[in-house]
């Protein structure tokens, strides 16, 4: 008897399952949204993917995640083409070059696939204003890097008590994101009359060079109080230089971005603060924006996502921890 009921229950469950499966199929076509990161091996983009996946699951869309191993158009363009060949309903992409991705993305646009850029942009980054060859993407979703720079400045100013010498350790001129961070940093520092911002040092994304530069700057300015590393290697290198001088904690180091190793460096005191972007938020809003477009909603041409300031005092708080980029 008991056994029979189990069998019946099983059969009913199976029937419901089959039934529900067939209703899903019967539902209207499931949207496919492709996300093409700048490179696949970076924690920032991996975190972005997680946010995108959350939104995709919530909205019932399929997410394709495809990209190259290097941040380079030569690698990204073939991937883009293969994705276009799959004819997704929308493309989210972090273009690896402002200029060189215009023509390949134009192909998608001409095939009627909506294009939204995330993190980085093409052309001038101002879309749908009738200007420039790369005007066709519908939206640009990214951290407001100028704001990020300002936040870094505020945090650093506070840490050094509002006076002293600081400088920016940057990659090289011409990169939109890092240029904007530096710009924001300097704008904000203008509000602190007793802080002097020294010449920016460019390190070509070489931590070793950034470390040597810190020591050189210190040699000329023994009263150096702080440094802002505008990206991961700039910060790690500068922090290393500080450590070699035996000045950890005395010369404050603010990092931009928050992969796991920055957390470790904050804990060990190598780095004092980090400005974490919210890549998961970028991915989430990317998918939501694309979905909005697909169901006929209008969308903002630019969406700025937030930042979190991390330091030794809050790094163990789970609410802060969740903004660490995870791979």
């Amino acid at each position: 008897m008991k056994r029979l009921s189990v069998v019946i229950a099983g059969a009913v469950a199976l029937a419901t399952l089959v039934g529900s499966a067939s209703t899903t199929v019967a539902q209207e076509k499931k949207f496919t949204i492709a996300l093409i990161p700048g490179l696949t091996t970076d924690a920032f983009y991996i975190t972005m993917r997680k946010g995108a996946q959350l939104a995709a699951d919530a909205l019932g869309v399929e997410l394709l995640f495809q990209g190259g191993p290097e941040f380079n158009p030569t690698v990204q363009v073939p991937v883009l083409q293969a994705v276009i060949a799959r004819a997704p309903d929308a493309i989210l992409i972090a273009p690896t070059d402002k200029q060189q991705l215009i023509a390949p993305l134009q192909v998608a646009h001409e095939k009627g696939i909506p294009v939204i850029t995330v993190d980085t942009f093409i052309d001038d980054g101002r879309y749908q204003d009738g200007e420039g060859p790369g005007d066709f993407p519908l939206s640009y979703i990214a951290s407001d890097n100028v704001l990020g720079g300002r936040m870094a400045a505020r945090a650093l100013a506070k840490a050094i008590g509002g006076k002293g010498k600081v400088y920016v350790s940057n990659v090289k001129p011409g990169i939109s994101t890092t240029d904007q961070r530096e710009e924001g940093f300097k704008l904000e520092m203008a509000n602190y009359p007793e802080i002097e911002v020294l010449e920016t040092q460019f390190n070509d994304d070489d931590a070793n060079k950034a470390a040597a530069q810190l020591q050189a700057v210190y040699a000329r300015n023994p009263d150096l109080k702080g440094v802002f590393g505008a990206n991961l290697f700039s910060a790690i290198g500068a922090a290393d230089g500080v450590k070699a001088l035996g000045k950890s904690g005395e010369i404050k180091v603010v990092a931009f971005d928050a992969p796991q190793r920055i957390v470790d460096d904050i804990k060990s005191g190598l780095i004092d603060m980090a400005i974490a972007q919210h890549p998961a938020e970028i991915g989430y809003y990317g998918v939501v924006t694309a979905y909005a477009v697909l169901v006929g909603q209008s969308v903002p041409v630019q969406i700025g996502t937030g930042f979190t300031v991390m330091d030794a005092s809050n790094i163990d708080d789970p609410e802060i921890r969740k903004f660490v980029y995870s791979d």
């Binding site: 394709l64 495809q66 380079n72 030569t74 073939p78 293969a82 060949a85 070059d97 200029q99 011409g174």
Partner: protein, 346 residues
């Protein structure tokens, strides 16, 4: 009498090698290419109900994708057959791309057509310079190819970034755009140009004395020297051919993207060498063909493109390409055993 005697086994007496194995060892790139196409075709049909192969967009994308590493691989084939290697090709390509963009940027306001002609000419000539230096280092100053061209890798890279001012150099020129994105009888122009270069290089390698001497130098440098081949001059020319091919790749890059970038060819170095090796060349020199390199480049492009197309997790793609390279090198090793080739030790 005190001399050490080397005994050469008379190979023709050993009939043990299975003819099918020998055939497989030589023809495997073709098989593999065929299997890949069958695999992706069936997957695409079963999973998405579309064709992978008989799909104009895919064919074009793959051809365009394969063109740049193939161009680098063509010159590399000559160098590798002669027993050398050219590690600088990627950045020579970038240098040519940047020089072309710079020249065109300044001349386009004067005359777009002239700007294109001048850009191509100057970029090509500039690309020959690192080739000449590589060749001189290797042939005259006896620097090992690996070291000499690695040095040039740095020099070309630095020069490229300097010429570009650290960023991408955009060009707005309709002629250039047409060259990079236009079509001739339905085939993208960069692909047409690449095919022309392939034919020329195939002829040069397989039909001319120059090609014959390239094999001879790779087979036995001393023998080539003693038979009166001007090995130095020949080696110099080989590196210039390699650099010239990289220059053409750079020119096509700038045309395709309407912009030059110093890092344009950086990811292509390994692909180009892999294409040559998959195509049956030995890294010890003496063997290899242009057709083989074409097949090798297609195999790499199809794997990378196809895996994206069927939406395989990106990290598996590295694994797949890595495996193909390892397998091809293993096959190169066993090819010797299977076909009775014996390489001199040392």
């Amino acid at each position: 009498m005190a001399q050490i005697r080397t005994t050469l086994a008379p190979h023709e007496q050993e009939a043990a090698r299975h003819p099918f194995l020998v055939f497989l060892a030589v023809a495997w790139p073709w098989f593999f290419l065929f299997l890949l196409l069958v695999f992706f075709e069936s997957w695409a049909r079963l999973a998405y109900g579309v064709s992978f192969v008989f799909n104009g967009f895919n064919a074009q994308s793959i051809a365009l994708f394969a063109a740049a590493p193939l161009l680098l691989g063509l010159g590399q084939t000559f160098v590798i057959i002669a027993g050398g290697i050219d590690l600088s090709v990627g950045f020579v390509m970038g240098l040519a791309a940047v020089v072309m963009a710079r020249v065109m940027q300044s001349l386009t306001p004067i005359d777009p057509g002239l700007a294109l002609a001048a850009g191509i000419l100057v970029a090509f000539l500039v690309s020959l310079v690192p080739g000449w230096i590589n060749g001189t280092l290797v042939s005259r100053l006896r620097v090992p190819a690996f070291i000499g061209t690695l040095g040039m890798y740095g020099v070309a890279r630095g020069t490229g970034f300097l010429a570009a001012g650290g960023t991408t150099v955009p060009v707005n020129n309709p002629w250039l755009f047409e060259m990079g994105n236009g079509k001739l009888l339905g085939v993208p122009i960069p692909v047409v140009i690449t095919v022309a270069v392939v034919i020329a290089m195939h002829y040069l390698l397989s039909q001319t004395r120059f090609g014959q001497h390239t094999y001879a130098i790779g087979g036995n440098r001393a023998a080539a020297l003693r038979s009166g081949i001007n090995v130095r001059r020949h080696t110099l020319l080989l590196y210039m051919i390699s650099a010239g091919c990289a220059g053409i790749a750079g020119i096509l890059y700038t045309a395709r993207f309407s912009a030059g970038a110093a890092q344009a060819g950086e990811p292509l170095l390994l692909d180009s060498i892999a294409a040559v090796v998959i195509g049956g060349a030995s890294l010890f020199g003496g063997s290899g063909t242009i057709i083989g390199t074409v097949i090798g480049a297609l195999i790499i492009a199809i794997i990378q493109y196809g895996l994206v197309f069927i939406d395989v997790e990106p990290f598996w793609q590295f694994v797949a390409v890595g495996i193909v390279i390892i397998v091809s090198v293993l096959i190169d090793q066993s090819r010797e055993r299977l076909t009775g080739e014996v390489k001199d030790e040392g």
